[in-house]
Amino acid sequence: MAPAKPAAQIQPRPDSEPVTAAEPITGQADHAAPRRKPALRHLGQAGRAGTRIAAVVVVVAGFAFPFAIMVTTSFKTTGDIFHAPPRFWPTSWTLASFQAAFSQMPFWHYLGNTVLLCLLNVIGTLVACPLVAYSLAKLGWRGRGPLLVLVLATMMLPPQVTLIPIYLIWNGLHAVNTYWPLVVPAFCGTPFLIFMIRQFLISLPDELIEAARIDGASELRIYLKVVLPLARPALATAAVFQFVWTWTDFLNPLIYLNDPGKYTLSIGLYNFFSEHGVAWGPLMAACVLFTIPAFVIFLAGQRYFVEGIATRGFK
């Protein structure tokens, strides 16, 4: 906030300027103020721009600060890490924590397992969700209305209710400690993603589908050749969501995997902490390595994320 103050004092009642939707919180627009000299006006505007930038900096710093600590800790020597009071910058930078993380934990193995699970889940989502969404959006069959209500209703059900019986099903099939319980549900479709793709498909013109139908194309062919290519943006959103969900999932691997050879990164990290609790350097290094892929995927698919969340907000 500091840089904004001097200018605001020079010009306590700044003249009005275009006000945007979000201004109520910081805006001090006062249209009744008399017109000032242009130079002073510029100063006032600079002051308000300064206030805005300061507000943004405070918010972003609050959220980004923990990441900064994670990164600097991972490059610190043990002496720097266990220094009280803590210092932000390392006195000397070292890769020792990363080397320790790699040698004390089969990082590449866990990474391979996690990527495999992510790929299988994304494939499952991309196979199942658009099929169901298309049925709900464009196929005029009796019962699709109730089905939509059912899909939405299941989003309200606490997962705790179904957790134990589902575990018992997999236990009965001797599939605990395999990847089946972590993959098969994706091939049945996720209500949230089904709903999101359905909202997208509904906006497509019916004429395209009707034209293909008149040309004698089968329903399956219409779906594969007409609908899926048009739905690509919604499918990308769904894929990004599913990837991040599987990548960050903790509870399901915790319940279903107990053979270290099958661990995902989440559970690997969890066990690493159990064994080397206070090894903060290697732990933070592992956290950094584990965060990077989600970060990259997020930056690449940022647009899809925001769209997906906005859809969900306005159902």
């Binding site: 006000v19 939707a21 109520p24 919180i25 910081t26 805006g27 006062d30 249209h31 721009a49 805005r52 943004v56 405070v58 918010v59 972003v60 923990p66 990441f67 600590i69 994670m70 009280a84 009071p85 199942a128 099929l131 169901v132 049925s135 196929l139 069959w141 019962g143 699709r144 089905l147 899909v151 309200m156 606490p158 705790q160 179904t162 134990i164 019986p165 575990y167 018992l168 099903i169 549900p185 479709g189 089904i194 779906y223 991040v244 960050t248 903790f250 509870l251 319940i255 990290l269 159990s274 933070m284 956290c287 584990f290 997020f298 930056l299 940022q302 925001v306 969340i309 906005a310 159902k315």
Partner: protein
């Protein structure tokens, strides 16, 4: 004759449509039957049994529900969870709306800043948990360091029973990126003409927020309240990781101050193998969730404005 032909053809088309509709919806219909419908029925039955995974379930009537009423740990976990919900939901709303207003300001580089605020929500929860354990460390952590620089008291977040729940709250508030993005989208949907008209009438910034922004986004606020109430009532991973003990797989933090309802449910199911008791707990959670959501929806009529939309 022709009419009957037409009707026959129409019913044939309808049947064809029904078959195709069901065929396309089949993955989810199968999933619903296997992973939702059957588990709901099974869970209701297990909640009335004594079941430890190795012997078949024994019917015990409402014994699990009665045992819950007499279980102090159950009440402690419920109390923690209701506290987190009662405090966490308003704070989530305030913080996410504040962040959305700031991130909606006309400043260059906003897409990057929005990404940075959203980022904590896509970080693996395990990373979030350990990162905050480090930040909240009483000796080497930065949260207490910052508090010391501001001459504020520096609690022992992870060891002091009266601060454990606040630590969980703090970690959850770091991940308000989701609600923030939703509010951001809502703010962009507020018609600009309204602000201009208000400004012509001489309304100040606070008045514009109270009379235009707040009522216009109130349906979105209702959505946010419902979603975050449900999320807080089901909270598991953050407290589970904050309370994680090196040797003990069923820690609830200092004095069980971090023990959430779902953590206790998980412990009963997978540590003590009391599947019947845990199923009963799941049903109580379901009822509590429905009751709280119903209260929110009923009272919302007073403050939600469904305007032109």
């Amino acid at each position: 004759m022709a009419r009957r032909d037409l009707m026959a053809r129409r019913s044939r088309t309808q049947r064809r449509q029904l078959l195709w509709g069901l065929a396309f919806a089949a993955p989810w219909l199968i999933g619903f039957a296997v992973f939702i419908a059957w588990p709901i029925i099974a869970s209701a039955y297990y909640s009335l049994t004594n079941f430890n995974l190795f012997q078949s379930p024994q019917f015990v009537g409402t014994a699990n529900y009665r045992a819950m009423a007499a279980d102090p740990v159950f009440w402690k976990s419920l109390q923690n969870t209701l506290y987190l919900t009662a405090v966490g939901v308003p704070l989530t709303l305030l913080l996410s709306l504040g962040c959305a207003l700031v991130l909606n300001l006309p400043v260059r580089g906003q897409p990057l800043y929005r990404a940075l605020v959203y980022l904590p929500t896509i970080v693996p929860v395990v990373v979030t948990g350990y990162l905050w354990r480090w930040l909240l460390n009483v000796q080497y952590g930065y949260v207490d360091r910052i508090l010391a620089l501001m001459h504020l008291p520096q609690p022992d977040w992870l060891e002091n029973p009266s601060w454990g729940t606040q630590a969980v709250l703090l970690v959850t508030l770091w991940t308000v990126g989701g609600p923030t993005i939703i509010y951001l989208a809502a703010l962009k949907n507020v018609p600009r003409e309204l602000y201009e008209a208000a400004r012509v009438d001489g309304a100040g910034a606070v008045a514009r927020f109270r009379h235009i922004t707040w009522p216009t986004i109130s349906p979105v606020t209702l959505f946010q309240v419902v979603v975050s109430v449900i999320a807080y009532l089901q909270i598991f991973t953050q407290p589970y990781l904050l309370a994680q003990d090196h040797l003990n797989s069923s820690s609830g933090g200092p004095g069980n101050s971090m023990l959430s309802y779902s953590m206790y449910l998980f412990q009963n199911a997978f540590v003590y193998l009391k599947m019947g008791y845990a199923s009963a707990m799941a049903w109580v959670l379901f009822v509590v969730t429905m009751a709280v959501t119903a209260v929110v929806l009923v009272t919302s009529r007073r403050w939600v404005h469904y305007g032109s939309r």
